[in-house]
Symmetry: C2
Subunit: 210 residues, 2 copies
DNA sequence: TAAAACAAGCACGCGTGCTTGATTTTGTCC
DNA sequence: GGACAAAATCAAGCACGCGTGCTTGTTTTA
């Protein structure tokens, strides 16, 4: 079976990036050497370096790659959420799952490593800023609220920060039990806060919550 | 000036641990080599290794050291908080400052590095569990609430998780402006949520808030 | 003088960037 | 379609720097 060079090249590149993300999530930054990534991708180190001449190149590409993967994950999982009283909890749960899953785990390792690596820092800061804004915007949409209402922006930001904190907590120990309680409570608080914010600004109920 | 050996030994050890924490906060895990720490402490590598024979020993001790430092910081900064309507915000601000300062920054690097280092993991997990509980308990006291009230436990946990998320966000870019807005809003929400939780369980106002 | 604390240097393994070599695919010519 | 050369892709190995654990030597204190 003859595989065209272009496809072959793309496939190898894809495997390397997938392997890089996987290695990051499981082995952390220091453990994700070019040799380890190449082995996980099923290619030699020479082949890996053909596509990504330096470790820096590999992980700059991995930053973009994990960003796209996270966008895709978010899009796929924000369909078919409940529309009734359960919706707020489902939205909070979605955001928390986004930040406690393996993709964010890999990103988190790069986030922390970026503190002492100028090139990586630049790409991670840019990506996280974009993804943060996109996720924030999505949360607004899913919750059926908007930022013209005072306080809504901050509480949605707090929700994302809380989810990141939960992502961090999930790194070393399985935190899922504690997390479920927090999600429940946060959803209640969000409902109350968003309901009172809506009432106090006399904006008609958007209808999504009906 | 003749310095007794014991004092001298303690002083060197202290300097090394301080240097380790400082290096972690500024250079991250990979950058905090024994050589770098020794240089920051103003001693040779041989002297550093006399006190901490392996890198592992050094950072196991650093985990304990930063834990004590964080406890001390918390104790010192939880005195003289406002008692009136500003109290909740001051408590939230304290917790957020605890998690966005250099001590937690150093701890965070060890936290993340611990994912792929079994010995470090053990000490970090233990320390964070203890400190988490202590900080949680302190927050309850400072807010004048207790866990017998349904939902209070979860909301305080969420506050700590949010603070950790803010600590993470502060790693790569100065996030203080955004943070101030979140602290304000979260304090409002906390007041509302804790006030309604107190009312709904018919527990007398503790008086701290008067 | 002996012990403790501190310092300098050695040997080794590891990861990186780079070089050289091998295999596969593509394009051209007949 | 086959032969051949060039380009693309992949693989093996080299040289070097760095960090670690350890050894040997020096200085300070009791």
């Amino acid at each position: 079976m003859r595989q065209p060079q272009q496809d072959r090249s793309r496939a190898t590149r894809q495997r390397l990036l997938e392997a890089a993300i996987e290695a990051l999530a499981e082995l952390g930054w220091a453990g994700s050497t070019v040799a380890v990534v190449a082995e996980r991708a099923g290619v030699s180190r020479g082949a890996a370096q053909h596509h990504f001449p330096t470790r820096e190149d590999l992980f700059a590409a991995a930053v973009e790659f994990v960003g796209d993967a996270r966008r895709l994950w978010t899009r796929e999982h924000s369909i078919d959420l409940p529309t009734g009283p359960e919706r707020t909890r489902a939205v909070v749960d979605l955001i928390v799952r986004l930040y406690t899953g393996p993709l964010f785990r890999a990103a988190l390792h790069m986030w922390v490593a970026a503190t002492s690596d100028p090139q990586l820092r630049e790409s991670v800061v840019t990506l996280e800023a974009h993804l943060g804004r996109e996720t924030h915007k999505l949360a607004l949409e899913l919750l059926g609220v908007d930022e013209s209402t005072p306080g809504v922006r901050e509480i949605v930001q707090a929700t994302l920060d809380m989810a990141r904190g939960l992502g961090l907590a999930n790194l070393l120990t399985d935190d899922s039990k504690r997390r479920a309680g927090i999600i429940d409570r946060w959803a209640e608080i969000l409902d109350t806060a968003l309901h009172s914010a809506v009432s106090s600004s006399a904006v008609p109920n958007s209808g999504v919550r009906a």
